[in-house]
């Protein structure tokens, strides 16, 4: 039979991480909670709201004390209608993976049910909310996780979040000669037929015109 990490294990691990984060950063506007996915197994994960000025310190704690050794995804989002306090957010998804270097001719075969402490795989979601601004910026964690390097490049390229301290920032998915300040996932850029009703009404494309004129590009 296959194995899996049980909810109790993940629950214990998540609670321990939340307690540890709140103990150190609770006074500094950092809020950590245990949340649950709503599909399948209702697995718990750790959600942390952090202000940008504490992000690097928090990242070091997560990486070196709580074992989040894997920076899997960085998501930037633009909220033009989000109000004064919430113009952008950056979400880091981190994972804890029980992976270590192996001696020659040996391997580690984990049995999920028997993992304890910092070996239990766990998911962290760190949300950094930024105020309404034209130049959103977050400190880079490129030096803490190598994996954050290209994720941050992509987030700057597509969303336009500036990562302070990121070395060798350049376009990765857009062409290298894209105009400065062009970040296609910002919400002022509309794709044609953005409104789905418009798309259905003109499924044949008869009403299609070169409507790029006057649009913000």
């Amino acid at each position: 039979m296959g194995m899996r990490v049980t909810n109790e294990q993940a629950e214990t691990a998540a609670a321990a991480c939340v307690a540890s984060v709140m103990d150190r950063y609770g006074g500094a506007d950092v809020v950590a909670t245990v949340e649950h996915h709503s599909n399948d197994f209702k697995m718990p994960f750790v959600r942390i709201h952090a202000p940008p000025q504490h992000w690097v310190a928090l990242a070091k704690t997560l990486r070196f004390d709580l074992g989040a050794n894997y920076c899997s995804m960085v998501t930037g989002t633009h909220f033009p209608d989000g109000g004064e306090d919430r113009g952008w957010d950056v979400v880091y998804h981190l994972m804890r993976q029980p992976v270590t270097n192996q001696k020659p001719h040996t391997n580690t075969v984990h049995v999920a049910e028997k993992l304890t402490g910092n070996d239990i795989p766990l998911e962290f979601e760190v949300i950094i909310t930024l105020p309404q601004t034209d130049v959103p910026s977050v400190p880079s964690v490129q030096s803490i996780w190598v994996g954050a390097d290209w994720n941050e490049k992509e987030t700057w390229d597509l969303v336009g979040i500036k990562f302070e301290g990121h070395e060798n920032m350049h376009r990765v998915l857009n062409p290298h000669d894209s105009p400065e300040g062009f970040h296609p996932l910002q919400k002022q850029h509309k794709i044609r037929y953005h409104d789905f009703n418009e798309m259905y009404d003109d499924a044949q494309g008869f009403g299609r015109k070169p409507t790029d004129e006057g649009r913000v590009k």
Partner: protein
């Protein structure tokens, strides 16, 4: 000796797609590398903001044209997290079987493409022959050979056809024997060993730190697998264990370990499929009508603002992830933001750096052993 930059790609056979590897060489030795991606960036994340949750599935199929089913499933699990849907167990079994068939087809495509990289052109024809069996099976489910659009939010599009189970079992049992044929041909082949052993070392901790995942990690000696670490579907109910290798050097896994772990993974997929088809609730030879509660749960079509959905998924090339924010256009019918984490987008820059110190002739062997796919890389 003078150093110079060589551009490999975007049309080089080593790339397995469209991207450029710029290599700085000193004689025959690689001293620096630089990866350039984005040649087939299609803006799926932006397009998804103008589509409702069902319409996004075909775009996710096309993220990776070699393993469409796993990518569509990966998206569907995130959408189900967002929309709070419980999936019927029969549908989960069908998804598991379809995803594992796709894994076999994808690994065969990898092996078939890797053979010519090394110089064994025969391998391509062998692998294409066997891959066809699994494409036929997937075609029975989804109706098309490569892009199936098969999973739905809350279940699957249609039930397995009558007779599918028998054909599946026969083909998987045949393929289990074929894996042995491949191993007889390759495992001790001198060319294979000379080109693969001692090349492209990668340590487990370095790879995790750099964001590499999936079979490449397991080749380095740790059985970490999303299917048990962040469980989804019914992998805890079927008989399997993650494939894992014993690397032979302190320097980590070499190309040969990565080849071995994928062969073992194919064997595990076969084992999983054969077990799952027997355990499927409702019976393997029944065929429920489309939309039956056994295979499709009712799902809401709108997600409120502030709701988020997230999925981990063990794709064929590593861990893929989707992150969806609800509350977009059409009063929540569209996602506000859909973010895709592609395992290969992170892996390719890492692999480019691991080539430093090896010879130019080793580049195809190293790159191919990590199984790059550019469709998902560029999105």
């Amino acid at each position: 000796m003078a150093q110079m930059w060589i551009t490999m790609g975007p049309q080089h056979p080593m790339t397995h797609g469209l991207w450029t590897l710029r290599v700085k060489v000193d004689g025959e030795t690689v001293v620096d590398t630089d990866a350039e991606l984005g040649y087939i960036h299609r803006g799926v994340e932006k397009i998804a903001e103008a589509r409702d949750f069902t319409q996004i599935t075909p775009y996710c199929d096309r993220l990776c044209y070699v393993s469409a089913m796993t990518w569509a499933n990966s998206y569907i699990y995130a959408a189900e997290d967002l929309l709070e849907v419980d999936v019927p167990e029969r549908a989960e079994y069908i998804r598991l079987i379809s995803a594992e068939c796709q894994r076999l087809a994808s690994h065969l495509m990898w092996l078939g493409a890797y053979g010519p990289d090394i110089g064994s052109l025969t391998l391509m024809t062998w692998c294409m022959r066997d891959r066809e069996m699994f494409l036929d099976l997937l075609q029975e489910l989804g109706g098309s050979r490569m892009h199936y659009n098969y999973p739905r939010v809350g279940g699957v599009k249609r039930d397995i056809p009558v007779g599918f189970a028998d054909r599946l079992i026969a083909k998987v049992k045949l393929f289990e024997k074929r894996i042995e044929e491949y191993e007889m041909m390759l495992d001790e082949s001198t060319i294979w060993l000379v080109r693969l052993q001692g090349v492209g070392y990668a340590k487990a901790e370095d790879m995790v730190n750099a964001g590499v995942s999936g079979p490449n990690i397991r080749a380095a000696g740790v059985n970490y697998d999303v299917r048990w670490a962040h469980p989804y579907s019914v992998y805890d109910q079927v008989d399997w264990e993650p494939a894992v290798e014993k690397p032979t050097s302190v320097k980590g896994a070499d190309c040969y370990d990565r080849y071995r772990v994928r062969m073992e993974e194919m064997r595990q997929s076969c084992r999983m499929i054969l077990d799952a088809i027997e355990k499927i609730p409702g019976g393997k030879n029944t065929n429920y009508a489309s939309g039956d509660a056994m295979i499709l749960a009712k799902a809401p079509t709108r997600a409120p603002e502030g709701a988020t959905g997230f999925s981990h998924y063990e794709c064929t090339r590593g861990a893929s992830q989707f992150y969806i924010k609800g509350g977009g256009d059409g009063r929540g019918k569209n996602p506000y933001r859909l973010s895709i984490r592609s395992p290969m987008f992170i892996t390719i820059p890492y692999v480019a750096k691991t080539m430093i110190g090896y010879k130019v002739a080793d580049i195809p062997a190293i790159m191919g052993s990590f199984d790059p796919c550019i469709g998902e890389t560029d999105r």
